[in-house]
């Protein structure tokens, strides 16, 4: 197992390197130039070249890339081109908000998806199954930002209630702090919950048709034992893999949801940085997200091997 984890760690390095090339180059492909944007704010176009040189954007891209990579290796993600503040410091102050939102959403997704998936599989082709599957289709096909817009607007129109608009620190008011995450996390969880629920159902159905499960039924075991003890663990192995992918989706979703619900996390930070073509910030946030996803996948793979002793690489 230890050897397997070590091997996976080694594989993660080239993944991260490839990702870093993409993370570095993609922002440069967005139409629009940070220097022109900055000069619009300052409007002295004759200094275009000098500003480009001052920001270090005049050198060949590969030179900029290797310099950036060198700094990243030393734990320095550079400075925001606009505020001149270190990206790493900005990230640390925003990471907790996004983590809180993401973890809460993941929690909601699991709590919604697994039990419903089990009911749906064990009560196949019943009303409960149809209802669960319909809800899942709805969750997958309706965009989260549209649901969020309705959830924000309709209560205001009907009851004059709107979600909290002012971000509150946990230390100041714990309940106000947590409550402002509940709604966005729930909506953010819907699409993931739908995907996980469908997979849970499909996997459980497959396992429930296996010979050893039939044997368990034949022995007269109670349904609870057959489902939870004999079937679920095996059925959940692919589900855990999918959960790793859902983490990436949830992290991506924070960009929109933090904007709608006024949460000062990494998503908002990234959104503003893209609008302003703030390359070091875009690169820093994306690199962090990529690293988290790679790490989660590593954990998922390790869990996969642990859950199923037959899996040996």
């Amino acid at each position: 197992m230890r050897q397997y984890v070590l091997r996976r760690l080694l594989v993660a390095i080239p993944s991260l390197l490839i990702a870093s090339v993409i993370v570095f180059s993609l922002p440069r492909l967005i139409p629009g130039d940070v220097v022109q944007l900055m000069l619009e704010e300052k409007a002295y176009a004759k200094d275009l070249d000098s500003l480009r040189a001052k920001l270090g954007l005049d050198r060949p891209l590969h030179v900029q890339y290797f310099e950036w990579l060198g700094r990243v290796a030393r734990g320095d993600l550079g400075e925001s081109l606009w505020t001149r503040r270190p990206v790493i410091a900005e990230l640390w102050s925003r990471l907790p908000v996004s983590l809180e939102l993401g973890l809460l959403a993941l929690g909601f997704a699991l709590v919604m998806a697994v039990p419903v998936g089990i009911v749906s599989a064990t009560r196949q082709d019943t009303l409960a199954d149809y209802a669960a599957r319909s809800m899942a289709i709805l969750g997958l096909s309706v965009p989260g930002f549209w649901i969020a817009t309705l959830v924000v607007l309709l209560p205001a129109i009907w009851w004059g209630w709107s979600p909290p608009i002012h971000f509150t620190e946990f230390s100041k008011d714990p309940w106000a702090h947590v409550s402002q995450f509940l709604l966005p996390a729930f909506i953010l969880a819907l699409a993931s919950a739908a995907a996980v629920m469908r997979l849970t159902r499909a996997m459980l159905l497959e396992v429930l048709r296996q010979d050893y499960v039939r044997t368990a039924w034949a022995k007269g075991l109670r349904e609870r034992i057959v489902v939870f003890k004999h079937s679920l663990k095996n059925a959940l192995i692919p589900v855990i893999t999918v959960l790793g992918i859902q983490v990436a989706q949830i992290l991506g979703g924070t960009v929109i949801f933090e904007s709608i619900f006024g949460l000062p996390g990494m998503g908002r930070f990234l959104f503003d940085a893209i609008n302003q073509r703030d390359y070091p910030v875009i690169q820093g946030v994306n690199l962090l997200i990529v690293s988290v996803v790679v790490l989660i996948n590593l954990v998922v793979d390790a869990a996969y091997a642990w859950l199923d002793p037959r899996i040996r690489y």
Partner: protein, 551 residues
């Protein structure tokens, strides 16, 4: 021409009610002065506003309203615009801010007497020290010399600033400039700062450097979340401001801020400057009537004016018949119907919103007819100019992130096509657009909104004087140039107004730019907010300074 939607300058209270104000029962509707309620102001309370996250806090290193809007609360200027329910929106009467009085011994000299006992906010490194004429001199000189101040041109006629004594300062101009006092009063120009602060921080970009002599002090700032301002206990007008705290919330999602406003979480409209746009208004006015029945309402035209500029120095636009045809080809009311619920004002060369200076389109004389929608006449003029089948061209354009701008541009293309002008939109990213097309660097045509200035000089001198950076149409008309200089040299406002009217009448015949209509803002605020009146411009702080909360 008589526009199908009348200019608000011409509107009566009854007209305004018809336009949509009637939706709010009991709302206080007016474009004219209203008597201040005879109530004793109450001290205290918190007002909550939705604004934007400033890119930084150095008002001389940005043209962003996001910065200037916030500093209106914290910084004083020498002069300011009067505010309150007595001021007609679109007019900007000047009064002293830090200046107690001023005189103009001759056309190029101004002497200001400063108030005594004005103190900076009690924060390091100034720690509440008294403001002197030296601070004003330092501020003006930094405004003119700091590299990157895009607004420095506003005071470019200034020759020197001299401190006569601790409380007296003299400005000498290179030549007479009638708009000088307006420039000093403009909230996007010269908020007075202290040298120690710039010395300590290098510039004023950090929020810690927000130190002025204004009615509120910056208490806290969190990026993407908001700002909290608290009452300056040493503000130089005794008793003001009445409101203790101003909570500025950064809320970038339209649905969320609309919901928050419906739920009563914002005290004034969420768009700038304290308004709701008409499309949102039409959607929520009935709900608002139930949820916030005491809401106050004031409608006035927006000073954001879109126009089509063109290379008037090159064919085919050098032919006045072509330019007139382009104007006749556009159905301005059709665009308003599509993008602004059909309500707006027709703009002459000076936006109709600037009530003191704009001429109603119907009074533009001979040129008024070119503001009509008459595609047949447009085709005739094009044929007469030698373009019977029209001509091809491109329109440089940026979306500004606004569906209104995008929809308007697409309609412009359609109207041009109807008369044979085959124009294609050449979309640029915003920064690229501003650094090229906004400053006249385009091959054929450009379309976009103009900066919402508060006086006509920027719309006229800036856009039409030969060689000016914002002369996007590259117009070079000696008749206009002469009148533009003359209005700048004429100190008597009545005579200056006559010249500005004359300029507009002449420009209407020449059509160097095709002006489009502007929408109508709906200023809204909570019934508990007293002694407040909406207006154009960035000076939120100035308008709230003498307002108070009755709750």
């Amino acid at each position: 021409m008589t526009p199908t939607t009348p200019g608000l300058m011409d509107l009566t209270r009854r007209d305004l009610l018809r336009l949509g104000g009637a939706a709010l029962a009991g709302a206080a509707l007016a474009t004219g002065p209203r008597p201040v309620a005879a109530q004793t102001p109450k001290r205290g309370g918190t007002i909550t506003l939705r604004m934007w996250d400033p890119p930084h806090f150095d008002h001389m290193l940005t043209i962003s309203y996001k910065t200037h809007g916030v500093l209106g609360f914290t910084h004083s200027r020498l002069l300011k615009h009067k505010a309150g329910p007595g001021v007609v929106p679109g007019t900007f009467p000047i009064e002293g801010d830090l200046a107690e009085s001023w005189s103009q011994p001759n056309d190029t000299t101004y002497v200001f007497k400063l108030r005594r006992g004005v103190r900076f906010h009690p924060k390091p490194p100034v720690n509440g020290r008294e403001l002197t004429a030296e601070d004003v001199r330092y501020t003006i000189e930094r405004f003119l010399t700091v590299k990157g101040n895009a607004n420095a041109y506003m005071l470019k006629d200034l020759d020197k600033v001299e401190v006569l004594d601790t409380h007296t300062i003299k400005f000498t101009l290179k030549q007479p400039f009638a708009w000088f006092l307006d420039m000093l009063a403009n909230p996007i120009a010269t908020g007075i700062i202290a040298k120690e602060v710039v010395d300590k921080y290098g510039d004023l970009k950090k929020h810690e450097s927000v130190i002025g002599t204004g009615p509120w002090m910056l208490d806290s700032y969190r990026p993407n979340v908001g700002l909290t301002l608290v009452r300056n206990p040493h503000y130089f007008v005794p008793g003001l401001p009445y409101i203790d705290r101003v909570e500025i919330i950064v809320d970038e999602d339209n649905a969320s801020r609309m919901a928050a406003f419906l739920a009563g979480k914002y005290d004034v409209g969420w768009e700038f400057p304290g308004v709701i746009n008409r499309t949102d208004w039409v959607q929520i006015k009935d709900t608002l009537k139930q949820k916030r029945p005491t809401l106050k309402l004031q409608e006035f035209p927006a000073n954001v004016m879109g126009h089509i500029s063109m290379r008037a120095d090159q064919k085919p636009f050098s032919d006045v018949r072509v330019r007139r045809a382009m104007s006749l080809a556009i159905d301005r009311q059709g665009i308003l119907d599509a993008v602004a619920e059909g309500v707006g004002v027709m703009n002459p060369p000076v936006p109709a919103a600037l009530k003191d200076w704009a001429l109603p389109v119907s009074q533009l004389g001979e040129g008024a007819k070119y503001y009509k929608y008459d595609p047949k006449e447009a085709k005739r003029l094009l044929a007469e100019a030698g373009y019977p089948s029209g001509f091809p061209g491109t329109i440089c354009f940026a979306t500004y992130g606004s569906t209104v701008v995008v929809d308007s541009a697409q309609l412009v293309i359609k109207y041009f096509k109807d008369v044979g002008i085959d124009a294609k939109l050449e979309q640029k990213e915003y920064g690229a657009y501003v650094s090229t097309c906004f400053y006249g660097n385009f091959p054929s045509m450009a379309f976009g909104p103009q900066t919402p200035f508060l006086e006509p000089d920027n719309f006229l001198f800036g856009q039409y004087y030969p060689g000016e950076r914002k002369n996007q149409s590259h117009s070079n008309d000696p008749v206009v140039a002469d009148m533009l200089v003359r209005q700048r040299r004429t100190m008597d406002p009545a005579k200056r107004r006559e010249i500005i009217h004359e300029i507009q009448r002449y420009l209407a015949t020449q059509q160097y730019y095709v002006q489009l209509a502007s929408g109508v803002y709906i200023g809204v605020w909570d019934g508990a907010l007293k002694n407040y009146g909406s207006n154009l411009g960035y000076d939120y702080g100035g308008r709230l300074m003498a307002a108070w909360l009755d709750r």
